[in-house]
């Protein structure tokens, strides 16, 4: 089930298994390459992309620099508009707040909009333990939930499943959760979508409580914004009497006007569309102008820390909090393409997961200590990121942290991390390095960009890899620039040794 990744093997082990799963790799390759090409076109349409990207970066940085002020302003605005604001320092507290709010309504089932924050805190499982059933309503999340699976991509969580698998899951599992799959269901996407529509509609129409996240919160006005495609978000935000939104504290924008930047960059970066089919914005509880209300009568906003303030305390790493979860970095990452989202052992896969998860959770576990190594430092993620997060820079910084130790903030307290030498993290990192070296395509596609990221590109492996690479030369950096190579080989597809 989604949300919990306890007991995940460290990245190298999980990646090793994934690389040998051919269905998964085929599905992933198809998906990432399709989105990647479309995205480039969507971005090229806007001649001011560089300025939009810079503005997005600056808005987010400014907000983070004054986060305390904007949080208080947001709280006032949401309260003034009829909502109630709750503060949750960690996952347990957030889950308890939500469970109590649901219980207070007397309901035992809720409908959910896909949300990274609620996956991060394992809300579904926490609610289950309190006797509350949470129905995922996004088609892909439904596939994942019915398949007793974990999401593998921020945007297309069931990207690792093909249509035949989806049909089998629907046939087998739908009846357990509600309306069964229609007789004789085939594997055409249209029929599968129709089966999901009927299955979920039954739930929407009776739901009294909806749970969502939000893409943006406007401090000035108290407005929340959810960006989506299917309309399940609109269903959950509109039909229930009570709406509970769980949102990370970093999702604030200071002003209404700031949306003009992100509503242009987010859809193009994520689904490669000029605009996603639906965007909903609501401010507190609404009178809607008519005599009776429009939308939920009760609105609760749960502001979630859960490691975000610790991340904020890291001068290099804090830029990860600019992330707007567009998933563009996943689709260009040569490591993600081969390893798949599950290998990252967290709800945040790919390059952003490799820097966000170890900051939110600390690097105590094997998986978190190995994540900063789950990259070839090729820099493609930085190139596409609409808020210009320098992911390679943060990766190198975190590797150093794992290996050399040093001061970090955990749960608000300054602690000194011990160097990981001879410890689990080192072994994990070593295995990651070895994994990269036994998959030359991964390493090579990374190496090619070295000319553009020279300052980040060591002659020997950083950290624990040093001993290993001390007696071996890393492959020479070829003269050909990354872009040329990318063009010539169709993104590594036709390069010998990189295709499956």
């Amino acid at each position: 089930m989604s949300g919990t990744f306890v007991g995940m093997p460290a990245f190298p082990k999980a990646a090793h298994d994934a690389v040998h799963n051919e269905t998964l790799r085929g599905n992933l390759r198809h998906a990432t390459h399709t989105i990647r090409a479309k995205r480039a076109n969507a971005v090229a349409e806007l001649s001011d992309w560089a300025e939009l990207r810079e503005a997005g970066k600056r808005i987010k940085d400014h907000t983070l620099r004054h986060l305390d002020r904007y949080l208080v302003q947001l709280e006032e605005a949401v309260t003034a508009a009829g909502g109630t604001v709750h503060w949750a320092a960690d996952a347990d507290e957030a889950n308890r707040i939500v469970a109590d709010l649901v219980k207070a309504t007397g309901e035992s089932e809720v409908v959910k909009v896909k949300s990274m924050a609620t996956q991060e805190i394992g809300l579904n499982e926490a609610l289950e333990a309190e006797g509350i059933r949470a129905y995922e309503t996004d088609l892909a999340e439904l596939i994942v939930q019915l398949g007793k699976d974990r999401p593998s991509h921020i945007l297309v969580p069931a990207i690792h499943r093909n249509r035949g698998e989806i049909r089998d899951i629907f046939r087998k599992e739908m009846s357990e959760w509600g309306r069964p799959a229609p007789e004789g269901l085939t594997d055409t996407p249209a029929e599968l979508a129709e089966a999901a529509r009927l299955h979920l509609r039954e739930k929407f129409l009776r739901a009294k409580v909806g749970i969502s996240g939000a893409n943006f919160m406007i401090a000035e006005t108290g407005t929340l914004v959810v960006v989506e495609s299917e309309g399940n978000g609109r269903m959950c935000l509109t039909l229930p009497e009570t709406l509970i939104s769980v949102v990370g504290i970093e999702k604030i924008l200071p002003t209404w006007r700031d949306l003009e930047v992100f509503l242009q960059t987010l859809p193009r970066s994520s689904t490669a569309e000029r605009m996603n089919p639906y965007t909903s914005m609501w401010t507190g509880t609404s009178d809607g102008g008519a005599e009776a209300g429009d939308g939920p009568r009760h609105f609760h906003l749960v502001l979630l820390d859960n490691g975000r303030t610790d991340t904020l305390a890291d001068e290099v790493g804090r830029q990860a909090l600019r992330c707007i979860r567009c998933s563009a970095c996943l689709n260009v990452c040569p490591v993600y393409e081969r390893a798949g989202g599950h290998a990252y052992g967290s709800v945040y896969p790919g390059p952003i997961g490799a820097i966000l998860s170890p900051q939110l959770r600390g690097t105590a576990s094997d998986i978190d200590a190995s994540l900063p190594y789950a990259s070839s430092l090729c820099g493609a993620c930085y190139e596409v990121c609409p808020v210009a997060i320098d992911i390679p820079e943060v990766l190198v910084h975190l590797r150093e942290r794992v290996v050399e130790g040093g001061p970090v903030t955990r749960e608000g307290n300054k602690v000194v991390l011990q160097p990981a030498k001879g410890h689990a993290a080192e072994r994990a990192a070593m295995r990651a390095a070895r994994w990269a070296f036994t998959h030359p395509g991964v390493l090579r596609s990374g190496q090619r960009l070295a000319s553009r990221t020279r300052r980040l590109h060591p002659r020997t492996l950083p950290g624990p890899g040093q001993a290993w690479s001390g007696s071996r030369d890393l492959p020479a950096v070829p003269a050909e620039p990354f872009r040329d190579w990318w063009q010539r080989t169709n993104g590594g597809k036709t390069e010998k040794g990189t295709s499956k």
């Binding site: 503060w87 088609l139 297309v156 509503l263 610790d310």
Partner: protein, 222 residues
């Protein structure tokens, strides 16, 4: 200590390295990006809206003000709609050419009742040409958000050129964040199954947009 105080305290300590910065927000962020992309005539902007709506598989119709009732009547008939949801503030005249039973948008209607209605007709607040987007703000001629969500067929009337802007920044300027806003670009769609686009998982599977021009008496009232 409450979690509120704890989190705000953590934020302040985390930012201890960040120097005092009193730059007003209006000056902190460069806004040298464009207000719209390219220069277009008013007619061209409306054409672009039509093209982009169609590209995202909305069905676009164009007519003059005095043809609107006939167009709405025809679209409902083609669809075989027997019932149509009508926001309180819509012009009665729009329904002069249809036999479909008019169902008023009422606060007490249950979602199940809405689910039994065949079509819904609304106006809009603004439309964005560059992205092919229509925005509803819950105004009297648009009704509650749920009426454009639950029925399977939505007919949305856009007044051109008055309600059309080129780009997202111009749309936001015209909107009031205090209202419940729904931005719609094409019908409900998913690409979750092997990235094949399929229309309609949850929202209306058919979106028809009528671009209506030539508002009679527009000069007199403006």
């Amino acid at each position: 200590m409450s979690s509120r105080e704890r989190i705000l305290g953590r934020v302040r300590r985390a930012l201890a390295d960040v120097g005092q910065d009193d730059t007003p927000y209006e000056q902190a962020v460069p806004r040298d990006y464009l207000r719209e992309h390219g220069e277009r005539s008013v007619e061209r902007t409306v054409d672009l809206l039509a093209e982009n709506l169609a590209e995202y598989r909305a069905i676009v119709h164009r007519c003059a003000e005095d043809e609107l009732a006939a167009v709405i009547g025809r679209l409902l008939a083609e669809r075989g709609s027997k019932t149509v949801l009508v926001p309180a503030g819509l012009d009665e005249e729009w329904f002069a050419a249809t036999d479909a039973e008019r169902v008023p948008d009422r606060g007490e209607s249950t979602p199940h009742e809405l689910d039994r209605v065949d079509s819904v007709v609304t106006a809009c607040a603004v439309a964005v040409a560059e992205t092919g987007t229509i925005v509803l703000d819950g105004g009297p001629d648009q009704g509650r958000r749920r009426i454009t969500l639950v029925p399977d067929h939505h007919i949305c009337v856009v007044r051109v050129p008055e309600q059309v802007v080129s780009a997202v920044p111009q749309a936001l300027e015209r909107l009031d964040p205090a209202r419940p806003l729904t931005w719609i670009s094409g019908p409900s769609a998913t690409s979750d199954i092997e990235l094949d686009r399929v229309e309609g998982v949850h929202g209306p599977r058919s979106l028809e947009v009528v671009l209506v021009s030539g508002r009679p008496g527009a000069e007199a009232t403006s």
